[in-house]
């Protein structure tokens, strides 16, 4: 009897894996293998064009990073970008969601209107924003109307990254707004009622009930926000036509990886950089988890 059931279990297990195999094969081919291959490449000097060769170079690719000034510029730009964009878009998303959660007129209209930028392709958004920032564009036109001095927004290294930041905050916040909105509707009404009976005002209710209740969602939003900002590529690529200029101002980690991989065809070093980026993102996520957990204990 026991023998039979053991056989049966084995068979069931095999069937289970067989059913999962499409997913396993697809994930393995397109996720696991490329990751392993990238790790393999990062320890090699690779020449793909012409004579294909893989020369094991130990940690040379990683040592090279220390002297690469452009890498540190890219890392600094990316961190600066994340530090400004993630808090701003999270806050904006929370505020927008709270407004939409109130019983407003035309609520559905506003929901759709706010969500539109997220649905639009980022390439299109960049082009539209480049028109706005153009020397003869909308922004300068408006400034001129009020009598303020106009400016070459696209050509100045100091403001180029800020331009992308503004655009990205505006276009990603609605995505997180929807997530917040869903979470807000899960908070039981009775808690607010109880607080009202205790004499809490609107601000206190928001700060003491809404924000703590949303903590798990905030964690998710911040983590996804950071991963998204660290992977910034398309906007700065279109903005600078792939160069990361003016004066490296829009050079991000992923753009740098792209340049090394496809412009210099240095796959080994590019893989090492990608590896570094993955490590950085993982570290930040781990730190965040610790931070959020600690507060939970309190």
């Amino acid at each position: 009897m026991s023998k039979r059931s053991g056989k049966l279990r084995l068979r069931e297990g095999a069937a289970g894996y067989a059913f999962m195999s499409p997913a396993i094969v697809v994930l393995g081919c397109f996720l696991l293998l490329p990751i392993l291959y990238a790790v393999f490449l990062s320890f090699h000097k690779v020449n793909l064009l012409g004579e294909v060769s893989y020369k094991f170079s130990g940690t040379a690719n990683f040592e090279r990073m220390a002297d690469d000034t452009r890498l540190w510029i890219a890392l600094r730009n990316t961190c600066k970008y994340a530090l400004i964009v993630v808090p701003s878009q999270t806050l904006l998303a929370l505020v927008l969601a709270s407004i939409l959660n109130m019983k407003l007129k035309f609520r559905n209209f506003f929901r759709v209107a706010y969500y539109l930028p997220t649905v639009t392709s980022s390439a299109v958004l960049v082009l539209i924003f480049m028109w706005i920032y153009n020397s003869n564009g909308l922004l300068n036109y408006l400034l001129d109307l009020v009598g303020l001095p106009t400016y070459n927004w696209l050509g100045d290294p100091n403001v180029a990254l800020t331009g992308i930041m503004v655009m990205n905050i505006w276009s990603t916040a609605p995505l997180f707004m929807v997530i917040y909105l869903a979470a807000l509707q899960d908070i039981p009404e009775s808690q607010y009622e109880a607080a009202e009976i205790d004499g809490a005002g609107a601000w206190k209710k928001f700060w003491r009930i809404t924000v703590p209740q949303l903590k798990p969602v905030t964690f998710y939003v911040v983590v996804m926000g950071i991963i998204g900002t660290f992977q910034l590529f398309d906007q700065s690529y279109i903005f600078s036509a792939g160069s990361g200029g003016p004066n490296n101002a829009t050079l991000t980690m992923v753009l740098l990886i792209y340049q090394y991989a496809f412009k210099n065809l240095d796959m080994g070093y590019a893989s090492a950089l990608a590896f570094l980026l993955a490590v950085v993102i993982m570290l930040i996520t781990v730190v965040q988890r610790l931070l959020f957990r600690e507060e939970k204990l309190n």
Binding site: A18, S135, S243
Partner: protein, 446 residues
Amino acid sequence: MQKKWTGWAALMLTTAMVLSACGGSSGNNSGNASSSPSGSSSPSSSEGASASPSAPAENVELTLAGWTSSPEEQSLLQQVLDEFQAKNPTIKVKYEVIADQYMDVIKTRLIGGEAPDVFYLDAFEAPGLIEKGVLEPLDGYVSDDFDLADFETPMVEAFKGKDGKTYGFPKDTSTLALFYNKKMFADAGIANPPATWEELQAAAEKLTKKDGSKVSVYGLGQAPELARQMFMIQAFGGKLTDDQGMAAFATPEGLKGLQLVIDQHLKAKTAGQPSDVGAGWGGEMFGQQKAAMVIEGNWAIPYLQTNFKDLDFGTAEVPTVNGKKGTMAYTVGYVMNKESKKKDAAWKLISYLTGKEGMKTWTSKGFALPTRKSVAAELGYDKDPLRGALVAGGSYSTTWQAGATLPTIMNNFNNQFVAAYTGQSTLEEAMKLAQETANSEIKAGQ
């Protein structure tokens, strides 16, 4: 039993999926089977053999890749290709236009073994690809009919490798010339276009129009990038690279010419870049009459004539800097993929396109200037009122090329030059930084 079956079915399904997914790519190569006979390096009969019976009777399909700057130019090339196909009925040419990031696409396709048989190659990228050994040397194919001596020598030199072999033939060229707005010149009371850089600065002073504190018309439109400014480095005896291909432009001599560019923008405020007035490039800036002068190439002429019909403009040779004439020359050639399986047919195409007949049609409408002396003489561009200045520049021009390391140097130069151009750092600091960064990147990549 049923369970077992479903398990197997799922497994089979997966296997089928994977197999069909992997099988897709191999199908593309089968089309190459109709290649030329194995003796592909026996070029004796290939040239001028358009009607010769010894040509392979099988039909061959060639792919040709390039970029295009206008629909008119694309249809002109199609016309040349149609003529070629009419003469070579067994060869069919598939013309592909790569719209953006041309070199990235070509390199990636070369790696993947999916590159076109014949493709455009800018002279400035040529040393890098030649060094990698992915191009077919063409010396063995050249016959007397091709008339190699007819080409302008520097243009052919641009496609020679360090081994002395020729890897491509120039399809066309352009130098830079000074474009000036005749009406603005007349309004400002300037009779002739400036001949020296001092005259240019003085003219720019008169031509710049201000709208309050904002400049509405710049005297000169500038392009703060290496491709346009390399001759300014050389004007006072500077060099872009040393013998080892390392960047060496941050010398006092090299900076002197570049300082003229920066000063005119920051100090005199009589020159600006296209983005200062919301234009995309110099030609647009000039066409919209936001710059009275620009230094552009032949490509700007058809652009201005079609898009700004009312514009009355002339061209002149680039004003002398430090008493010396100087300008840039750009050339693009046709090269053959070494992995091509239809090399004989590919050579026929290249020799037709860069031959006298093909080049004449291709350059007849003035989108580009010919690189063959005989074609240039026949078309008479040296006497053309607009193109004469461009042709004249050919004799003293600096070819836009400097070894395999140029793309890295260019990237760093452009990035830092903008910093100096916008006044964020001095030219000297910026150029030193650019040179150091470029050289450390070159070293690390070796």
